[in-house]
Symmetry: C2
């Protein structure tokens, strides 16, 4: 007997490498562009505020409700997702729009998702998610001791909706677009899953939705059992701040907040709240950045096809591709020798694929040049 017998032993998640020095880093799906310039401006303000000791905000606990940020999100998301309906009157369930109590924030969408697993997946029945998906889902299920069952994607990496209809489960979680496949499914498919599972919470993980997909956000006004999770780490260029959000009906968000506040009341720190607020309000910069990434992605798809790569039509800021002749392992190794980092998993069904994040145009030209040398 020793204290070690009582230790919760887990196998930790392995993240993509963060190499130092000058490399082309296409392995962690970060945005290749800096955040909105409003962020830098706001950082100057904070420096000024701290320099004048008596106005220091860092010495104080941050606002545990992150109200400033949540209000900014409510404003911007209402304009984007709910106002059109208001004008046309076509979509009455969306008419009410988003309010403060529909929004949850956490330290990256990992924190939000982990809290959501803990809060909503408390059944003895298995939680369902795809066999090829975000590799943290089974880790969270393990650490929170939640039973789970993976549902295999089809051969072309699509979701078979039948796997999520009329199946006994203690919850469902699916990313859209899925990761690392990049495959996007229409909100109508998710609506059917949500409607079919009134006794489960269905989590739609929209980490990559801004790169060309349509958000399931309007579903939260229509169903009380759907939670839509998003992140500031990709389309908003703020991976360094760690900010994730969840949207749901007020009751769902209340339960999530209760667990969060029982766990750690103050999680989003003061700089995160301040900087994310100005970033989310700069919708013009956001639209431009997303458009640039999409344009580069489409160019890259064309070039990869020409070089003999095969892939599903990604709507994320990455492409999940295999080559007709050369193994992923070989390409991965040779790219690394050229200081180009992409992601590769030695896992069943996907061990011959590479996940390539979309960088700048220059990054992708370098990549294409290197791939040309490797595969020809």
């Amino acid at each position: 007997m020793s204290w070690e017998n009582n230790v919760r032993k887990v196998i930790p998640y392995t993240a993509g490498e963060q190499p130092k020095g000058k490399v082309i880093k296409l392995n962690t799906n970060e945005c290749p562009y800096a955040p909105s310039p409003m962020v830098a401006t706001r950082i100057y303000d904070l420096a000024q505020q701290e320099l004048n000791g008596s106005s220091s905000m860092l010495r104080k606990y941050p606002d545990m409700d992150a109200a400033k940020l949540v209000n900014a999100i409510v404003k911007v998301y209402n304009d984007r997702y709910f106002s059109g309906d208001k004008n046309t009157g076509k979509n009455t369930q969306a008419e009410a729009g988003l309010n403060f109590d529909n929004v949850f924030t956490g330290v990256g969408s990992d924190d939000v998702l982990s809290m959501a697993f803990m809060t909503f997946f408390n059944s003895d029945k298995p939680v369902l998610f795809p066999d090829i998906t975000y590799s943290f889902y089974d880790v969270w299920a393990d650490v929170h001791r939640i039973p789970y069952k993976v549902q295999p994607l089809t051969d072309d990496f699509s979701i078979d909706i039948k796997d999520y209809l009329d199946k006994e489960n203690g919850g469902i979680v699916i990313p859209n677009p899925n990761a690392p496949t990049g495959v996007y499914e229409d909100p109508s498919m998710f609506e059917e899953i949500v409607r079919n599972n009134p006794d489960s919470v269905v989590i739609i993980d929209e980490a990559y939705i801004d790169f060309g997909g349509e958000s399931c956000l309007p579903l939260i006004k229509k169903y009380d059992n759907v939670l839509v999770v998003q992140t500031f780490s990709k389309s908003r260029s703020l991976a360094g701040l760690r900010i994730g959000t969840a949207f749901g009906c007020e009751k769902l968000i209340r339960y999530l907040k209760d667990v969060k506040f029982a766990f750690n009341s103050y999680t989003l720190n003061y700089p995160s709240i301040e900087l994310a607020t100005v970033a989310v309000l700069d919708t013009g910069y956001f639209d431009d950045t997303v458009a640039k990434v999409i344009k580069t992605r489409e160019w890259t798809k064309e070039k990869l096809s020409e070089l003999g790569f095969e892939f599903r039509n990604s709507k994320a800021n990455f492409i999940f591709a295999k080559h007709k002749k050369v193994s992923a392992d070989e390409i991965f190794t040779k790219l690394r020798e050229k200081d180009i980092y992409v992601r590769h998993w030695n896992k069943p069904r996907i061990d011959n694929y590479l996940r390539i994040s979309i960088g700048t145009d220059e990054d992708m030209k370098e990549l294409v040049k290197a791939l040309k040398e490797i595969v020809s």
Copy 2:
């Protein structure tokens, strides 16, 4: 049947109010002084870095090991806690000093403690902690479904060491100084508890240790079952950044990191790592700040005694006091009318006490003036 049946329902922690507007805020044990001026200087650097888009660090994931910060902590803590021994050769177990693998970091000590509960308190036997203590302990035990048993403090709010010796338990957690009592116990008492419980992890929560107590840190080189937890929110004036640390033997820290990385790999954000690093390296500023708070605390004790308050000799940045004649409830309400916020709990044994954080000299003069009017 509904999804609500599977929700983890908890009663959330209630934190001290964060009033807006001009008030004297002595209710959340924040430091009344700004962080080191090096912090403001570093914030300017970050603004510059983000303005020049190509050097943006915010768009990237932060270093999940927070290596820069951990290295700074190792350096400063070795100088402070272990170097004396190196020179004299008197204390061989401390000679080896602290290294990178003895240090864990998290989003405030709440995050660190919650992770530690989850990692180390996995037994069917109850975890032990005092009946009057940090009010998050029972909340974490509940949320992680850990059985616990409170051990009553003595009448004068001291710990009775017998309550923690030869008692069956699945872990022990005690703050030193204790909160909200402010009572400090000698490290020799903790050493006896640690030695007596080799099959349990003993957590010593040193959130307030810098205000005059002696840290139990050297114990981590001598015992493999002790975890010392500290925070940057009090003595380092960085509550707004949310940074906590834990110190333990390498094996203990490894287990803690495994759970953390399974949970959320990237928790300390980029600004936190950068700003906390410069703050911890500015040891001169730290010493001056702590000395100022202690001086103000001792002055306040004198004045409170003169006004008929009774309290144990606090070694924290707050005083836990009751008045001989006037009820805590009445004083609390009347102070609030004067825009002075202190903390009061309607809990058994402490409902006639107020916890008064130490503010600036000016804050405390205002407090004493107000109390004089209330109690005389």
